[in-house]
């Protein structure tokens, strides 16, 4: 099944120049793509279109088979709940604890509080933040915040995960570990697009790439045959 389809999509902010031009791409269910390209090339803009933060200036976007242009506005939240997003700047809510930040997508989806407690605790344990469940995000390090943001994005086990530089603030060891978490999710059927500048990870994990340069997009194969799996051991499991 096609999870995301973009046809001749263009995007401009206000009256500025087009930041995305004639973008056409298709993501099948279960795909894992790295989104690469230089800074300012339009990676975040492309992800924003996919998580429905913006409407394209032109072209068609289809998400889970629904044409966004013709989808009723009241139906969009249900589509968004199937998309997990790791924002580039985390966008954690500072007035909430780590636990409540991760629980937020489940609360929005009206999940029972007992289930929320179980799943959030499990996931925070897996990402190594069990001891920081009551901490405010502002008291956490950049890497810890990154993991909270990732946990929030995957807590509802979304069909599509869009991650904007999720390994940008963590060391290589943790970056590999987070990639393993994403791969676990991917094996469970989640389609993943991960924007990154980390060429090492792209080479190591060998997933196909969406390359973006000057607003134009090209779907490409892996950077190199996968030199898969580091020696980082997986602990626990994704909920």
């Amino acid at each position: 099944m096609v999870i995301v389809k973009l046809e001749n999509v263009g995007l401009r902010y206000g009256v500025g120049p087009e930041v995305l031009r004639d973008v056409s791409l298709t993501l099948e269910e279960g795909a894992f793509h790295f989104l690469t390209g230089p800074s300012g090339a339009g990676k975040s803009s492309l992800l924003k279109l996919m998580y429905l933060a913006h409407r394209p200036t032109r072209g068609l976007i289809s998400l889970f088979g629904s044409d966004i242009a013709t989808t009723e506005r009241d139906t969009l939240p249900a589509l968004r709940r199937q998309v997990g997003v790791v924002f580039q700047e985390f966008r954690l809510l500072d007035h909430m604890s780590t636990f409540d930040n991760v629980a937020l997508p489940m609360r929005v989806a009206n999940v029972h509080e007992k289930d929320i407690r179980k799943h959030v605790t499990e996931l925070l344990t897996w990402v190594g933040l069990k001891d920081h469940m009551s901490a405010r995000p502002s008291t956490l390090s950049g890497g810890q915040q990154q993991r909270v943001a990732l946990a929030r994005a995957v807590i509802t086990r979304p069909r599509l995960l869009l991650a904007d530089e999720p390994t940008g603030n963590v060391d290589d060891k943790l970056a590999v570990r987070l990639l393993h978490l994403l791969e676990e999710l991917n094996k469970l059927g989640t389609t993943i697009v991960m924007a990154t500048h980390n060429e090492g990870l792209v080479r190591q994990f060998g997933h196909p790439r969406i390359c973006i340069e000057d607003g134009r997009v090209e779907q490409m194969g892996p950077l190199r045959p996968a030199a898969r799996r580091s020696n980082v051991r997986m602990e626990g499991k994704v909920t």
Binding site: L52, R80, R91, P105, R107, V108, A109, R152
Partner: protein
């Protein structure tokens, strides 16, 4: 601290907003003024009803003085006979000259000067409640036995008083409406400010799939809380004001100010003002948030 506790998580930290501090006081002031307006309206209704009831079933017949006492007596007897024969008349009694003189004293001086003055004879007439009297026909009949006899149904000054009372009543309604509009406007702009302050939180909620109603409910419940808190505060302040006005009113010794009778429903309306303020806050905040969120993708 929330006044009402809802079984929902508060994702938007509205409790720390500047509006949270001043809105209850503003609502309290509005409810205080609204309570005064409702009671003023009730008083006006009560006063005009009492004035109307007090004089609508009475008439005063005036028989001009004749050339002699005998002629006067004949004319009065004739008029009384006509009046008492009328089916609408319950009672028709002449008013004693001494009483008429005492009524004129404030304007014309002491009674000695009035002793020789030809004064009209007055007859006080009580009517059956709700029965119409053809005034002209009655006057025509009385003029046959007492030429120049006139009848006063007090309508002219009563109408003026009632018109004045109704004008004040409408004034109170207008004040009440203005208070309502001002309150709605205040809650609307406080909510819009809250939306601007918490734009980041709202965007995150929106992007992780929160329905507009999920976000709007948080603002609406917050406004309901503040509205109720402010409403009760305003009502508490209005209580001593009513007691003070009531005390002053009772000190005024005047026939023009009858006893005030405020009905149960009017008191219910006053007591219900905090609930009205809370409901108005809830709806206004909800509409403000939904309108704003509708502009998002």
């Amino acid at each position: 601290m929330s006044f009402l506790s809802f079984n929902h998580h508060k994702d938007v930290p509205l409790d720390k907003d500047p509006g949270t501090r001043f809105l209850p006081w503003l609502i309290a002031f509005m409810v205080y003024l609204a309570a005064l307006s409702v009671v003023a309206t009730a008083i006006m209704q009560s006063v005009s009803a009492r004035w109307e009831r007090g004089v609508s079933d009475t008439l005063t017949v005036q028989v001009p003085p004749g050339d002699s006492v005998k002629q006067d007596q004949t004319q009065i007897a004739g008029v009384l006979k006509i009046l008492r024969a009328h089916p609408a008349v319950v009672l028709a009694e002449p008013i004693a000259r001494s009483h008429v003189v005492s009524l004129l004293e404030p304007w014309l001086g002491n009674s000695r000067a009035l002793d020789n003055m030809p004064l009209p004879h007055l007859i006080d007439v009580s009517l059956r409640s709700g029965m119409d009297v053809d005034g002209q026909q009655l006057v025509d009949a009385m003029n046959k036995v007492a030429p120049g006899a006139t009848m006063d149904d007090h309508r002219v000054w009563l109408d003026r008083l009632i018109r004045m009372s109704q004008t004040l009543e409408w004034g109170a309604y207008i004040v009440l409406s203005l208070i309502g509009f001002a309150s709605i406007g205040t809650v609307f702009f406080v909510t819009k400010t809250g939306l601007a302050i918490h734009q980041d939180v709202i965007e995150v909620l929106h992007l992780i799939g929160a329905q507009d109603t999920y976000i709007a409910r948080q603002f609406a419940e917050h406004a309901l809380n503040l509205g109720l808190r402010g409403g009760l505060l305003g009502l508490a302040a209005a209580g001593p004001t009513f007691a003070g006005f009531g005390y002053l009113y009772r000190q005024i010794d005047s026939a023009l100010l009858p006893d005030i009778d405020i009905g149960l429903w009017q008191w219910v309306a006053v007591m219900g003002l905090p609930i009205v303020a809370a409901a108005m806050g809830y709806l206004t905040a909800r509409v403000a948030v939904l309108r704003t969120l509708h502009k998002m993708v």
